[in-house]
Amino acid sequence: MSIVEKAPLVRAGLGISAREWRTLLISAVILVAAALVPLVSEGYILQVMISIVMYAALATSWLLFSGPTNYIALSTAAFFGIGMYVTAAGIDLVPYPVLIIASGVAGAALAAVVGLATLRVAGVYFVIFSLGLAELVRQFMTWGQHVFGTMSGLYVSVDRSEPEYYWQLLLLTAVIFVVGWWIGRSRLGFALRIIGNDEIVAVHCGINTARAKVILFVISSTFASIIGALVAPRWGYVEPVVAFNPFLSFQVVIMALLGGTHRLWGPLLGVIPFTVMWELISIEFPDYTTLLLGACFLLIVYAIPNGFTGLMESAFNRRTKAGGATTGSVQRTLDVPAGAVTAELQPQKSSDA
């Protein structure tokens, strides 16, 4: 008996299975619980919580594109920085909510240009391009400020309290999860998983691979820019070196890898322990943060390549196997991580594929 057969066949409205309703319900409960945190705790705990939610949003939006496609995007800092800069530059001219939207649009535009140029050819070029993107945008910003004679740093002040930042980011995280869940169910998500497994097969299936990749990259980058816009007023002062810090791209990738990139909620599992550990490291060993993080990164790549979710799933699979049932040979022969096959089959109705 395979795991696939165990899934409830009953489907409620909108083509959402009972099992998915349960997941949605659990997610909603977690969301409400998380939203209540500022009411009971404040100060340091709330600060750490804000970091956690910010990184959760960044890592999950990173995963939207890089998870299914296996294209490692190292450009989070570029889009995050753009969001910050759009906000900082326009704060005295237009209302803040407009700027949040403008940040998203700016990020989307840059992502579209980068995507159209690099995602049509081999994946390695995309990685290289994304690696230096933050530095490139930073150079342009610095140059622009030099030419227009503005100061290198900009002040951003918006009247927001700490809990309000927290709720904003939490809401955005929820939106990212819903979008990710919706993409996972859609034809687009299915196409991306095929691209991730074998791009040549995807092309032969008649998938417009370049279009699918560019769309997803734009969505993912738009979120990163919006997060930048949401965080900018909290930082108060924005300058190129801080806004386009390549370290951010690094942190986001490491957190997502730690959690596991095959599940939408994977990064969440990575973000929480990592942010806490990061807080400890930066307090205890402020001079060795880069060194220790590099070492952690290598440890994760070699010791737990599939992240926490990968560990959990292989443990789960071993248990079901030990229970006497022989799992279908499908899982063994296909070159996909354990559990991915079931993920592939479940949300898809046969007519979709």
């Binding site: 070029y125 150079q139 690094f250 943060t289 590099g294 990164f297 290598l298 070699y302």
Partner: protein
């Protein structure tokens, strides 16, 4: 004229560092994102040597190059070889090696910050003028160019005139076919990777003679080297050298005519053009 000569001098050193990456990516097939950090490590090696002895930093090549060779050999054996063995396809290996070397690059930055600090570093060696066609140029740039030309020519001759060089080129063309003619592909790849690291570090020593650098500056050089390799065509030494000169000229032109802060933008624009017009590189052959 100014732009032409400075650009060519810069291109000479770029050629050296890109040759290093070319050996690593073109022969060993490892996309090494920590390449720039090896270069910066070489630069720090030269700085440390010069600060201690005040002898010519060129002498530091004597210990920087063997050290970089040994270090990169160890990296290949310990970190990369397991990835090569577990990889089922080149695409998978690319993803794995990108992640591993990306982590490695931050580890290197951390080590260098711990040893040398995070501040900008430079030293003044041979910063006296030399006159070429009546214009003045830094003597250190000319010396760096000559040294890098010597190393490049030596490497080229080694690759084309010796048996080991032939084995390297065979692996570069087709690793599985190279295995069939009893070339130890793993060993040859390790050699190419180590040699690439050594050449890159030598490039770092030469660059440090006229450039200001800091521990986290490596990524820019990784990027430039990658762009040169792609522009010249993967596995094509001749293309790499020409591409290095093109990048050197383009950067110098942008720095002189527009703004010195926009050199990376010049590199990116070149990169964009290559991707849009000739993704296989200047002299690369189109694969079916």
């Amino acid at each position: 004229m100014d732009i032409l000569i400075i650009g060519l001098l810069l291109g000479g050193t770029y050629a050296l560092m890109a040759m290093g990456l070319q050996l690593q990516y073109g022969v060993a097939r490892i996309m090494n994102l920590a390449n720039g950090e090896v270069l910066i490590a070489g630069a720090f090696g030269a700085f440390w040597f010069f600060a201690g002895t005040h002898a010519s930093p060129l002498w530091s090549l004597l210990f920087v190059v063997p050290l970089a060779f040994a270090l990169n050999w160890a990296i290949y054996r310990v970190l990369i070889a397991p990835l090569v063995r577990r990889a089922k396809s080149q695409g998978k290996l690319d993803v794995d090696s990108i992640l591993a070397t990306f982590g490695l690059s931050f580890l290197f930055i951390g080590v260098m910050v711990a040893f040398f600090g995070a501040q900008y570093t430079d030293y003044s060696y041979l910063s006296e003028p030399i006159f070429i066609f009546g214009e003045r140029y830094g003597l250190n740039r000319v010396v760096a160019f000559v040294a890098s030309a010597i190393i490049c020519i030596g490497l080229y001759l080694w690759l084309h005139k010796t048996r080991a060089g032939l084995a390297l080129r065979a692996v570069s063309v087709n690793p599985s076919a190279a295995g069939l003619v009893s070339i130890n592909v793993m060993r040859t790849s390790a050699l190419a990777f180590a040699l690439g690291g050594a050449v890159t570090a030598a490039g770092g020593v030469l660059l440090s003679m006229y450039l200001t650098f800091d521990a986290s500056y490596g990524v820019v050089f990784t990027l430039k080297a990658l762009i040169i390799v792609i522009l010249g065509g993967v596995g094509d030494i001749r293309g790499t050298i020409i591409a290095a000169f093109i990048l050197g000229l383009a950067e110098t032109a942008v720095a002189t005519l527009i703004d010195p802060g926009l050199t990376l933008a010049a590199a990116y624009i070149l990169f964009m053009l290559v991707l849009l017009i000739r993704p296989e590189g200047l002299f690369g052959r189109r694969t079916a």
